[in-house]
Structures are given as C-alpha cells and as structure tokens.
Symmetry: C2
Amino acid sequence: MIKKTADRRVVRTKKMLRDALAELIEDKGFEAITVCDLTERADINRGTFYAHYKDKTDLLVQSENDLIEAVLEIQSGLVEMSMAELLDCYVNNKPLPFAVALYRYLGDNGRFVRALIGPKGDPGFTPRLKEVIARNILENVLSEKYRENMTPLTKYYMAYYTSAQLGVIEHWFESGMNEDPEEMARIVLSIMFMRPGDAIEMRPTILDRVGMQYVI
Amino acid sequence: MIKKTADRRVVRTKKMLRDALAELIEDKGFEAITVCDLTERADINRGTFYAHYKDKTDLLVQSENDLIEAVLEIQSGLVEMSMAELLDCYVNNKPLPFAVALYRYLGDNGRFVRALIGPKGDPGFTPRLKEVIARNILENVLSEKYRENMTPLTKYYMAYYTSAQLGVIEHWFESGMNEDPEEMARIVLSIMFMRPGDAIEMRPTILDRVGMQYVI
DNA sequence: TATTACAATCAACAGACTGTTGGTTAACAC
DNA sequence: GTGTTAACCAACAGTCTGTTGATTGTAATA
C-alpha cells in the first residue's frame, strides 16, 4: 500500500498514460484502444508502457482503483448524518455536505469519470462506483431496522435508489456539468423527496419551492 | 427492413453466433473475445462469420438492435394508461400490464440481456435500454405539464427515475431472476410510491402491506 | 559535483488475431 | 431435380502483442 513513487519520471509517465487513456476512451472507446495508441498519444515509448503495466486493462484497473480509493477516502472523513440534520438541510435548502464533497471530487476528475461511465467506457466501473455510493449515502438514509434484516423488497429498493443516484451523476456529466457541486447536492436532496406516485394523493408537495410541484 | 432470411442455414448460423456471443461475454467479457473464440464455440467456420458480420462489434450491434426493436414492438402495442388505472393497480396490488410484458420479454432473453448489462457487457447498451424505458414508462408517469416544458430539475428527475428502473432490472438479473414477471411488476409499482424522505413526516405509508412500511 | 541507480529509449522477435480471397462441398428453395 | 448459394478449407499480408538486450539520459544522494 506504500507508494514509493518518488521519481518524477515515473509519475510523469503514469500521468501521461492516464490522461491519454481518458482521452482515447472518449474518442474511440476502450475496446478499440491499442497500446500503440496510448504510448503514441502520451509520447512514451511502447516498451516503457510494459515496464509499468501488464496491458491496457491493467492501466485501466489501476486508474480506477485510485479513483475509487480517493472517493472512499473523502467519504470516510465525513461524519454520519442524523435524521434531524438531514431534515434541517432539506427545509433550509442547504446542500448535503457529503454530496457536495462527492460531486466536487467527481467534477475535478471529470474527464476521466465521464469517460469511464460513458457509453464507450468500462461497464465494470459503474457497479463499483454504485457500491461506494450505496455504502456511503444509502447507509445514512436507510434505517437500521431494514439494514439488518433485508427483505427482497428492501434490496430492490436499494438497487433502485443507488442506480437513481448514479443516474443523476451521469446526467450531470452528459449535460456538461453546468451545475456546481453545491447545486447538485441540493438537487439530489430535492429528488430524494419526490415520488411519481404522489399524484395519487393529489396534494402539492413541499417540492413546490424547487419549481417542480408534484409529479404524475 | 424486410428480413428475407428464409434459408435455414443462415438463421442457424446467426443463432449459434448470438448464443456464443452471450456465453463468451459472461465468460471473459466482450473486450477479450476474438472472432476465433466465437466461431469455435459456435462451431462455425471463421470465414462464414465474415460473410455475415463485419467484425465482432457488428455482431454485437445487430443483436442489440434486434432486442431493442423487440422491446419497442412489445410496448407499442400497449395502450397508454390513465391515472385512474394506475391507481387501481396500485391499491388492488395488481401488476402493471406493460411492466409485466417488459419483464416477461427480458426474462425470456435473460442470458443475452444479463450479459449485455453486466459488468463485462457493453457500456453502450444500457443507455439505449434506458431510453426505451424512459420513453415507455416515464411518459405514462410524467404529466404533460412537465413533459412539454422541461426544467433542468425535471430532466434530473427523469435521469433519476429511468436509472432507478434499470437498477431494479439489473438487480433482478443479478439475484437470479427469482421473481416472476408479475411479481416484478408489483415490486416496481410499490417502489414508485416510496421515497427516503418519507420519514420526515413520520407516518407509515400505504406500503406497509408489501412489508417495508416506511424508509428512513 | 560526481557517482550510482534506474527510468526511458530503440530495434527486433515470434506468436496471435484480423480481414480477405479462391476453390470446393453440401444444403436449401423452387 | 436442378440451379442457387451458404458453409467449409487453406493460405495470405498486415497489425498488435508482449518480451528481450543493449544504449542513453535523468534523478536522488553523498
């Protein structure tokens, strides 16, 4: 676990390769990338590539691991939120702190994340990101009662909810990251209190203030 | 558009290749598959493969198109649902007809769908399936008012909702497709009326009957 | 600053996969 | 039954792969 990569040449090489990977994924898709493409764009000798990585998949996996690890790191420093605090954020239209931190980091690594979760990216990355989000957001949302004794329906709700959160992140990237992290955190919180079925009760919900009223 | 594939040999060859593709994707991932792998497993000459498909990606895309087209076909025959009917289904615990049809078809083509949306599948397929689901389920759920004048928040809600629906489908496949299509349609309908924020009002919702009560 | 370690380069290698071709055999539709 | 054509087979050059050995250049440390 101890990174002993002090040599500037190594970090430069790795950075160049990771950047080239992100660009090329968005360009032609991971599938079509050759090691030649990578080293050519990164302006690195092909032999040097193999000194650091087994193959292009190894480069991909290592880069993904770094990203996942960083997200975990960020979220591990965040205190678990009480329901009262969540409510406070909601009614006062304050962004959730951990959501802000998450979106800030994802935004900073935008190019790479967008490439990975995009239609030409790595289908194996999305589940990993989902797992992190599930562990760090859902555990703050789902009550203990359901966490400990998970029924099939609860599991389906978890799958529903984590996928939904990732869908919002994807849409953020696709639409050009126009909103800043704070805005995104507010949007996420708002959506958490929406449900399509609300129309059944035919009452405008508290969501009016974010401009959506209720959804049929 | 007119399929003139009457020759039994052709349909046999194509079927063998599509099946081999599904198996190999789950086995080693699309990325790692070679045309040799495909023809070997399908027991087809390699030259024959190139008589039908440009490359392995062409095989993938054509197979995906067939699947998407079939889903569209199924859903086009379904009448649009009124809010009253939706309510009727919900309170009487009846499965939504279009959801049943969707899950039935996906289940019938389980192996292939599971391979495509899985962690070794095609990252480009999920968005396409999402789009179909969005068009056919969400348009029955979102009121006209929001459909015609889409605010950013509405779009985020759509992204949230469609991803969520796909997450449920994914979980169905991952967990071994234990529920039959009718059960899945009921689960989906139930989840539509849940929201994590319900705890704020601290009232057990109508969802009690499906064993979840309310979610914090 | 000089020395030592090692990262990066270059050229060349066999092996695998690709996409194509021309000639042959066998199954199909009518 | 016969013409059509799909499937088979072998062989082709071209590309990408992963590895090697020798050489050059850059970095950390004394």
